[in-house]
Symmetry: C2
Subunit: 345 residues, 2 copies
Amino acid sequence: MITIKEIAEKLQMSTTTVSNVIHGKAGEVSEETKRKVQEFLDEVDYVPNINARNLAQNESKIIGVALKARADKYENLLMDPFVSELIGGIEETIRNAGYFMMLYISRDTEKIMRRVSTWNVDGLILFGMIGDDGQRVSTKYKKPIVCVDTYSIEGIKHYTNVGLEDEKGTYEMVKYMISCGHERIAFMSDNRTGVDLARFTGYIKALEEAGIKYREDDFLMIRPSSEEIEESLEEMCRRAMDYTALMCVSDLYAVTMMSALTDRGIRVPEGISIAGFDDNILGSLYRPALTTVHQDVKQKGIIAAETLLKQIKGEETGNQIMLPTRLVIRDTVTKPRKSGLSSFF
Amino acid sequence: MITIKEIAEKLQMSTTTVSNVIHGKAGEVSEETKRKVQEFLDEVDYVPNINARNLAQNESKIIGVALKARADKYENLLMDPFVSELIGGIEETIRNAGYFMMLYISRDTEKIMRRVSTWNVDGLILFGMIGDDGQRVSTKYKKPIVCVDTYSIEGIKHYTNVGLEDEKGTYEMVKYMISCGHERIAFMSDNRTGVDLARFTGYIKALEEAGIKYREDDFLMIRPSSEEIEESLEEMCRRAMDYTALMCVSDLYAVTMMSALTDRGIRVPEGISIAGFDDNILGSLYRPALTTVHQDVKQKGIIAAETLLKQIKGEETGNQIMLPTRLVIRDTVTKPRKSGLSSFF
DNA sequence: TTGTACGCGTTATCAA
DNA sequence: TTGATAACGCGTACAA
């Protein structure tokens, strides 16, 4: 690793001159020396020491991306197609803007913050925060922050959330289900906070609007941990049979349920209609193809990164950006079956 | 961001003492001052500046992870479940060892190298390299490198490849197909290099061993770019009908083909048997559940990271690590249909 | 146009 | 047991 100092020595000139050439401060240096330095630079393949540069300039050109994993979900957060697509969008945008991406995953907000502030990253993108996580972060960390899909950011200043019309998405889908003739519609998720809560709210709203009464039983709470999943699926399938349609909080759960139901001899949509949310590869490749609520996840990542870059430049960005959803009608929601499920056994 | 210097000032002592307390050099400092410093440290929530630390110690604690995207595959490389699972394994291992992960994606080896050497990362994990990419990288970049799934690393020194028994995997699967009674078995992939070539070779080997003659037509070359995919799938389905079984190079293609065939009224496995390779969520969730060759992708990531960390510590690691595969027999490979496909129309 | 000298925050050396 | 001081490599204000 050759240093500026060494180069200056070899070339019999000052470090300032070399540095100036490197940074293309053309006016400050003669053509002659410029050429000489440039040649030597190429020859020895000089790469600056980032640590020294960052230390001197007090910036890092690094964007920190911190994912908070939920203990009960996926052992490997990146396996979630949603997460990887999101990161893909972020990475691409950051890279094109000349920044680097530091990826960090943890279940523990404290740990995340400790690590993140160790690296003096120029900005932060947070995903998976719940409750007052966001606030705790933003009081500790004074640089630009953009959150993705966070539903608890009231009253915080330098803080933008990139979210989705979650409520509207399920609202429209459930309304569509009702328009198909369904009256007994269950909702399935693994929790009732944040994004999931918003989607649930849309479901409730559509039911209410149609004069359908919601009972607590209509919420199917799946337990996705690998030890419990089989047992939980068994319960989900049993309970699902009381309904003619099932609104799932994600494509993953929708497809998982279709598989589980198929294994138990229940056909979709003949036995029960199912809708998902996300519109990812899981649902589009499955047969019957999944009727779902579309969101552009990559776009979400791009917007999040762009917003953060703006903030780093000092621009104001507002503190809520809502991306639209769109119904994707495919083959898993049809008219309800006539009678009980008994005909399917 | 409070610094050691400031702390030392406030506490009326030297930076050395503070630094010693931070690093737990217990013997060097009295209990009394140790306690005093520790208290203050907790109070102000001190976090070290990594740039300064790295500068002083001449290391970065960063592992670069460079993914080379193929132009014709996925616009968003991270959407590939394989890639995200791999990265998940790497990230976890790196993090637990106190390192950070820098993620960089590009199609251009030169660009990757330029970026990567700017960051003086302590080591490099490369994925997706083909041909002499690896060599070009390793001549320019003198620090530890670990490649994943690279098939062209002969004669390179500080270089370890973490691969898979690709050939053995398809060999055993095709052998299994043959044992089920299949004689007309096609192979499907989108290229014929690296990993795909190895898997193809296993297929050929199994055919030869059974005395089945391979014709060039038996290789179904899919074109996965989004513009061509529909047309290509049409062709794939048409050509697949000449066979009783299809060995796909990945679960993604296997499931894609099952969907496409289903859409055309061909049932799997009644109409045609299909096997995949990878054993990811796509195949396990699909119904009929996919018969496939299992590989532990997360483990691959873990091994790659562990190997790199060893190299960084100066240990020798050999230059080929081969992970095992395992047949996962589910529902998509059965006995061949009796006659032509006409009975299915 | 070029060079000197200092600061960035930390760790390490060596003297007190 | 503590403290001064010198590195680490780069950028830059200011002097020459």
